[in-house]
Amino acid sequence: MKDYLESLIVEQINRALALKKKIHYPLDYSELTGLAERCTSILDSQILVLKELQKELKNREENDLRDIFREMRVCTRATAWIEYYGIPALYYQTPEIGFLNKLMFRVHKEIKLPLPPPAVCCIATEHYYLNLFTNVIFAPLSESEFLLHLPDLYHELGHYVLENRESELRLKAIKDNFDLAFSKVTDYYNDLVKSKRREFGPEEIPMMIERIHSQWKAWINEFFCDLFALYTVGPAYVWAHLHLIVKKSDDIHELSIFRQTHPSDESRMRILLHGLRNLGFKEHVKNITSRWSEVAKFWGKPQIEYQYAYPEHLLSEIAKLTLNALEQSGFSIISHEALANDEENKIRAMLNEAWQSFWKDEPEKFRNWEEKTVQELKSIV
């Protein structure tokens, strides 16, 4: 096994070296410099770890290799991640990638993001997602031609902020409030489990509540990112989210005891409405609530256990804690005044205007306006 591990380590080192060669300098778009540096640095660190493992391996007995085996696997996965989710954005520097990266740079300035902007790559095979390891947001190929879902970029930025909350001092308030929020969630579920055990009801109920609590580890991230997007880009995000639900949701009251990555769409809309109220966008609360109640009728009623999953008081508290954290961290929070100040908030104003136009105009007229606006956007970023 020692010999085999040695060969595996050498193979992985060579793979990392080959990937480094795929990054061609000079880059076409300077906004991708951060990504190029990040990929290089991650690959270098994997090579370093693998070389250390090589040395360590020499001093080990055949029956003492478990941690080396694991570390080699960790390095293999890390290198594969760079290959799948980092290098492609650098290898294929298309005009769409160039535009979205310039746009991201503008967005990060507008919202006062206290971190370098992440890269964007439009080769996604599904809706937007962020790869936290490479800091690349993946968007579908044609996103650079449309406006209505661009607010989803802000949601992905939320994940990026959350990921850096421990290492970036300026995000300390976010770390503290996030921990506090999860602590409140845990306290609530610990009490609930205790009370259900006292009731001597079916054993499945406390077990299900334990599973729900476990799912909250992922759900709380999503709630935070939804609120982050709302508080930074404004009502446009809530509309974009509603739009996505209408197009893609299979069950707005989703609740599974197995691995459910996202909270239900119904709970996400509820927390966003709390957020909108916190911002004072009363008119939008009214309009969105009205549209949402029409849309929600297309799905059935929730199962009984749904009552345990998304308690109203937790959603309300998380919405407040998140706003407070973003304010303390110096983010530019959206407001009526900010949207009126077109020059400083051009992108945000444009994305909110797009939704106004979508609801107000005929579909073809809206599309003409959208095409013109996208061209304008491309010329100013």
Binding site: L130, N131, E156, D179, R211
Partner: protein, 136 residues
């Protein structure tokens, strides 16, 4: 964020926990470990970062840790120790308790347990990675 993103996020957290845990494990492998040094305490914390949420779960409490999927890791461990689960469960709790009370002495059977736990995290990471890569 899509399902991909969520699995990627859980994968990232669990991988970081595994890396720190393994670093600590390697530290304690060396014979010259000083029981009372600052470095030793810091390495004990890395172990406890993983062990505490697991022990809390075994004790019937929900954990406030967001960096580890302790329920899944426990399931993997339980699956691998079905025959001696009660005894094994006690051993994990005792080891965690000892480390929490400042006893940093790790013997051969402790290493076995720690390696089992690290293997379980590695399995969870591999599982998440397969989901990310669309192989599940």
């Amino acid at each position: 964020m899509s399902d991909f993103g969520l699995f990627a996020s859980r994968f990232h957290s669990n991988t970081n926990s595994l890396r720190h845990f393994d670093e600590a494990l390697r530290y304690f492998k060396h014979a010259h470990v000083q029981k009372s040094s600052t470095e030793t305490s810091s390495q004990v914390q890395k172990l406890l970062f993983v062990l505490k949420p697991i022990a809390e779960m075994l004790d019937g409490y929900l954990s406030k840790s967001v960096n580890l999927d302790e329920q899944n890791i426990l399931k993997i461990l339980q699956h691998r120790h079905t025959n001696d689960w009660q005894r094994y469960r006690e051993q994990i709790m005792q080891l965690t308790h000892r480390l929490m009370t400042g006893d940093a002495k790790i013997n051969a059977s402790d290493f076995e347990i720690l390696n089992d736990i690290a293997d379980a995290i590695d399995t969870e990471c591999a599982n998440l990675f397969r989901r990310i890569s669309g192989r599940l």
